[in-house]
């Protein structure tokens, strides 16, 4: 069985959408011994190949929500939680070019039986997906708290191992 994989999804030049890739770069520095790390900026369908043979995957991605920016959401898709991609509170097919975005990829992987047994989705609520806007620096208090929370959650997931997935945390 391959090591857990931590994936940052998003485009670095689309404002808050850069959160996924940026956070993964941060995590990689301190957790390289616990997992593999990957950034996906292109075709999300590639994920199906990248997580082939793995039982635990963590995905970090920004999503549009009216909640206060910086509040981390955590969903776990696994037999233990009985949560599926269908249950994720996202609209599908609305924004992604030619339909296939992360929610569609998760649903497709499920239908094809190609998803790992445990997928943790860490959602970073965000507001600004405009082109060429750079996220605020990590010295901002709220931002630093969000980064710490993501690091703590990922570390817990990786240390706990597969099968201990709790319901939405």
């Amino acid at each position: 069985m391959r090591r857990p994989l931590v994936i940052g999804v998003g485009q670095r030049w689309r404002g808050d959408d850069a959160e996924g890739p940026r956070l993964v770069e941060l995590l990689k520095g301190s957790m390289a011994d616990l997992a593999d790390f990957l950034v996906i900026e292109g075709d999300p369908l590639e994920l199906l190949d990248h997580w082939e043979g793995r039982s635990c995957v963590v995905i970090i991605d920004a999503y549009e929500d009216s909640r206060q920016t910086g509040e981390v959401r955590h969903w776990c898709l696994s037999p233990q939680t009985a949560m599926t991609a269908q249950d994720l509170p996202f609209v599908t097919g609305g924004f992604s070019s030619h339909l296939v975005g992360l929610p569609e990829t998760l649903r497709l992987g499920e239908a094809l039986g190609r998803n790992p047994s445990e997928i943790h989705l860490l959602g970073i609520p965000a507001k600004n997906f405009a082109l060429a806007q750079i996220p605020p620096p990590s010295t901002n208090g709220g931002r630093a708290a969000m980064e710490n929370e993501v690091m703590q959650r990922v570390r817990n997931i990786l240390n706990r191992g597969v099968g201990s997935c709790m319901s939405q945390e």
């Binding site: 609209v91 599908t92 097919g93 070019s97 569609e104």
Partner: protein, 482 residues
């Protein structure tokens, strides 16, 4: 990836008449059958009123198309009052962005118009610039460009066939649902798309928005050993393309056809991608540089995309169906065999069969890619120099997956772009799409509202419309201040 929290369904069906408007004429007739002759005579005006009741179908957000668009349809039995393909995705101002930029930036800037056909924009841009500069690239670079285009056709067509269009024919809402019943087919679609991605990544540096294309050639040549590995994948892809043909052959196609002028590049030497004259199924035969003398764009109040038409005429159709019909003899023997396999012949005017044309072009693209690799001439360098020392004008058209893509640039003596004009295939097909919907409603009075709405959406998806491409424009009136 941008996602948003769930909201309510975007589709709605409205009626401007009462509840009875939904009842069929036959039902009304059956009800009146038991009444006296006088009563039936009296009932007649009521029935007429029912028939005349106007219905409105609104699809507020078209699914399984690229970009943001809607359909508004107002009709009554025997008459369509209004059809609007409403494109509400905001204008994206690309032609304005290009003004004042160096000519060498055009391929990378215009490729950002579309995430699924960036190569088409790059190809039209580099050819138009080379046309302006009077440069012709060596055979090896030409071959690599054609190979890159094969990759994009595969990526784009396979995505549309398996993920966007097949669900319509299989009666499922989306590819995720389809995957539960047709797992092998969806897996095949994913493998084929990945092979298309691999070509684009090998030559273009990455699979989406490739970065290796420049005016005059490429920034760097791909390692030759990678091309050998690529060939193995493409041979497998060609074999699997037959399975795609057999898959789509089994679909049930609505009985519908409509005469429309087909427009495509035609090249007597090969199936057109990067070069050819613009011809039509009627009388057109022009160089790409004459495009604007024969075609025009106009703004329609309800759409953020310009509508194209032939000057003095009207709508026309670009895309796989037009290419196939006008270039059948230039298909490889294997691809012609594939067309025979699915019963697709030149001159087919049933737009619902466009999925067959795409499947034939997927087979062709794999076959052509293998042929190109087998006959590749290594160029002396990745590019040839291109420069401007005087003002120039260049125009070119290439065949994007969705059809003819025209670019025209006016370059100043310092190499900066003075004006740019880009006309993508979806702009050219919009009027034809609306006319298809109009004819479809008239041809199928037996369909209830739900089935009619679905059929209309399917009719739009026949064209694989790329709304983001269609809204790239901005017309700017320049005023010089003294």
């Amino acid at each position: 990836m941008k996602k948003t929290a769930k909201k309510t369904s975007s589709k709605s069906v409205g009626k401007s008449a009462g509840k009875s408007a939904g009842k069929s004429a036959s039902k009304s007739a059956a009800k009146s059958a038991g009444k006296s002759k006088k009563a039936r005579r009296q009932a007649k005006p009521v029935r007429d009123r029912r028939q005349a009741a106007t219905k409105v179908i609104k699809v507020d957000y078209l699914a399984r198309v690229e970009g943001e668009g809607a359909l508004f349809l107002k009709y009554q039995r025997g008459k369509v009052e209004e059809v609007r393909l409403k494109i509400f995705e905001p204008p994206r101002f690309f032609e304005a962005f290009l003004q004042g930029r160096d000519f060498s930036e055009a391929p990378d800037i215009t490729s950002r118009i579309c995430g699924i056909c960036p190569v088409a924009y790059q190809m039209s841009a580099v050819h138009a610039m080379e046309n302006a500069a009077g440069v012709v690239v060596p055979k090896g670079i030409r071959q690599l460009r054609r190979l890159l285009y094969c990759g994009e056709w595969i990526e784009s067509h396979v995505l549309h066939i398996y993920m966007l269009h097949a669900p319509d024919f299989l009666g499922v809402p989306d590819v995720m649902t389809m995957a539960r019943q047709y797992k092998d087919e969806v897996e095949r679609g994913l493998r084929q798309k990945k092979r298309g991605n691999l070509i684009v990544k090998t030559l273009g540096g990455r699979e989406i928005h490739p970065i290796n294309v420049k005016v005059g050639g490429f920034y760097s040549l791909p390692p030759w050993e990678e091309l050998a590995r690529l060939r193995e994948e493409l041979v497998q892809g060609r074999d699997e393309a037959w399975a795609t043909l057999r898959f789509v052959k089994g679909f049930e196609f609505p009985d519908f056809s409509r005469e429309v002028e087909l427009v495509s590049l035609v090249n007597s030497q090969e199936y057109p991608m990067n070069e050819g004259r613009i011809r039509s199924s009627t009388d057109l035969d022009i160089a790409a540089q004459e495009f604007e003398a024969h075609f025009e764009e106009e703004h329609i109040a309800y759409s953020h995309a310009l509508f194209s038409k032939r000057r003095g005429r009207g709508s026309y159709l670009v895309g796989p169906m037009a290419r196939f019909s006008l270039n059948y003899p230039q298909l490889s023997a294997v691809a012609r065999q594939g067309a025979d396999e699915v019963g697709l012949a030149p001159g087919c005017q049933n737009p619902f069969k466009s999925i067959l044309a795409r499947a034939v072009e997927v087979l062709y693209a794999f076959d052509e890619a293998v042929r190109l690799l087998d006959n590749l001439e290594r160029p002396a360098g990745p590019s040839v120099p291109v420069e401007f020392t005087q003002a120039a004008r260049g125009a070119w058209a290439t065949e994007a997956p969705r059809g003819l893509l025209y670019h025209r640039y006016e370059i100043q003596a310092d190499g900066s772009i003075n004006t740019a004009q880009i006309i993508p295939p979806t702009s050219q097909n919009q009027r034809t799409i609306e006319e298809d919907v109009r004819e479809l409603v008239l041809a199928h009075p037996e369909l209830d509202e739900d089935r009619l709405r679905h059929r209309c959406e399917q009719a739009i998806r026949n064209y694989d419309p790329c709304i983001s491409c269609a809204t790239h424009f901005l017309k700017i009136k320049k005023e010089v201040v003294a």
